[in-house]
Symmetry: C2
Subunit: 360 residues, 2 copies
DNA sequence: TTGTACGCGTTATCAG
DNA sequence: CTGATAACGCGTACAA
């Protein structure tokens, strides 16, 4: 019969050895004779003994637990990051805990307390709350957290706080999308962005503005505070309603694919055909993006790659991450050209001319 | 200056009290004078001391950590469960760890070792691996796990293993969808299901079969082993290709919305119009389902509700869960009627006649 | 190769 | 109300 509160000592007694020996066997210490080892193992198996990782963690001062902080695991972008990060951690024998921090939340003293008291081996942070330029306390709080564990972010640089991080080159990616639309003949493009003052928003906008400017394209900006399909639908309608027909854009770029999904519906509702009446380009490349009507041209942010790389940094981290932050890893977002942006013929030309593009 | 390895003893010394007193202050024990309490707090704040929950866990024999086992957090259904469960756990001061177990995996001795050694306070299990009828070892392995912690499942009954569980009434839900299609005049309906031999598949099929039989509707079954949008697209084409035109169904039900998303695309590719040429009904009600073209009529499984309820069971669990399993909580899936199933006029009639339906 | 004994950081018990 | 002290379950010097 199994006993759930068996300890190493019970096993030791039963096997006629000391607890130290049992410990050695269990942690595969080399200096233990094959005979005793097998005898110990027999007892372990007989009682179904399982070592207690809590006690082990206390002794070794590492929990083999990694924290992941993000706003919303239901968002496919974050789900992608989390999934890949979990997988990576699992491969290294660690386990991940999710700490939710709402979109409009901030990294407070109070919040990091929860992480510190858990004595995590490290933390992966991602979300708008590490991107806000006027979060004065952020570097201070993170510095405090770092005294306890290494930190990796998926986000832009945090002024006053250096750490390992991974981030897509958003301005460049968006610029590339603008280039594509320009090539396809568009002269007036709208960008449905966000009112939020975060870098991930700012960088997209920046890429859009610069891209348009460079090519002499008229840029129209429209911002929304919340980003879901419903808001996307609404924003498409409002954007066009707010403009005289002769100033309508012929193409619209959308801050993410969730929004773009709604935008597509909004345009349908208005009786517009995509891409003939209006080209649409998204950003994220979610699982549904190849299945919208029409399939969505989008920027591939590669959430899973971001998650994987970030977690790898965290695990491989020597701990001196705190002293010398390594160079940030910049991931280049590939443009995924589908049908929502326009004719296939032009696509083919583009593909031939520009090897950096990805076709799907 | 903060020291990251401060212990309760250091605080005690500095405050001129014993470690026991510090402990009492920190855990808000009543029997401690206001004066000493404030003196201790001052020192705690001064040094930014954070108690170590690992040590606490060792002493109290509870980790305040809950495990969640599921196949794929990227799947919006599981993301919904996880998200709600995490929120619920957080509300109770616990934290969740994700343990991935692939769709085609099984709950092995080896796998539960990982949970046991973490000394979790409980485990929430969901996924096909607890639904397979011929997993002979499953009850044995779970019994073993239960010696260490309470278990809750989101799934059908596991023969030979009673525990708290939450599950939607799939047969009934699907039957209701069939009823709707029958009311809309369909006489031949296809079901795009799964080859997998799990209860969540079987119950859907059963509901479909019974629903059709009862109403004298011709039922066509088509099964797919993998369920993603791409497979959905493929299956729509194959289903129809395999049938002479005069035996085509006029409506198709799909095992989940992810598949349905692909089915919609497949039908578009074939030049068919939904719902005029073919009605479509999904299952899951994901975030994108209201934004497909046309918006998808679907069964609302309410993943978040499932996750919330399950986690609540786990947290509220007295531990005698192992002895007397409570009645399973059966959640009734509401039918969400959108445009993919047919005319709005008929919908209105249905809604008036059947108050159990949800309109969105 | 094996055993002894201490420490990891807390809480709980029992005196005072 | 407060303080010693013994657990909690394991790893690891150090000694044998």
């Amino acid at each position: 019969m199994l006993d759930s509160r068996l300890t190493i000592i019970d096993i030791a007694r039963e096997a006629g050895v000391s607890s130290a020996t049992v410990s050695r066997v269990l942690s595969k210490h080399p200096n233990v004779s094959a005979l005793t080892a097998s005898r110990v193992r027999a007892v372990v198996d007989k009682y179904g003994y399982q070592p207690n990782s809590i006690a082990r963690g206390l002794q070794q001062r590492q929990s083999h637990v990694l924290g992941i902080i993000m706003p919303d695991i239901k968002h496919p972008y974050y789900a992608g990051i989390f999934s890949a990060a979990q997988r990576e951690a699992e491969g290294a024998g660690s386990v991940v805990q999710l700490y939710r921090l709402e979109y409009n939340g901030s990294v407070t003293e109070e919040f990091i307390r929860r992480l510190i008291e858990r004595r995590l081996d490290g933390t992966l942070l991602t979300g708008g709350f590490i991107e806000s330029p006027n979060a004065r306390e952020l570097p201070i709080v993170l510095d405090r957290l770092r005294q306890y564990m290494p930190i990796v972010t998926i986000g832009p640089e945090i002024p006053g706080f250096e750490c390992a991080r991974v981030w897509p080159d958003l301005p460049n990616g968006v610029r590339r999308a603008v280039d594509l639309l320009a090539e396809l003949g568009h002269k007036r493009i709208a960008f449905i962005g966000a009112t939020t003052d975060t870098r991930s928003v700012g960088e997209r906008e920046q890429g859009f503005r610069e891209g348009c400017e460079r090519l002499g394209i008229e840029a129209i900006l429209y911002n929304e505070s919340i980003h879901n399909p419903a808001k996307g639908e609404e924003s498409a309608v409002r954007l066009l309603d707010g403009l005289p027909r002769n100033r309508w854009p012929t193409a619209v770029m959308v801050i993410n694919d969730l929004m773009a999904l709604g935008v597509l519906k909004g345009l349908r509702t208005l009786g517009l055909t995509v891409p003939d009446d209006m080209a649409v380009v998204g950003c994220d490349n979610q699982f549904f993006s190849a299945f919208t009507d029409p399939p969505l041209t989008t920027l591939n942010l590669n959430a899973e790659e971001l998650g994987r790389l970030a977690m790898r940094q965290l695990i491989g981290g020597t701990g001196d991450l705190s002293v010398n932050a390594p160079e940030p890893i910049v991931v280049d977002p590939g443009l995924i050209i589908r049908e929502s942006c326009g004719t296939r013929r032009r696509m083919a030309q583009m593909l031939a001319a520009e090897p950096a593009l990805e076709a799907v």
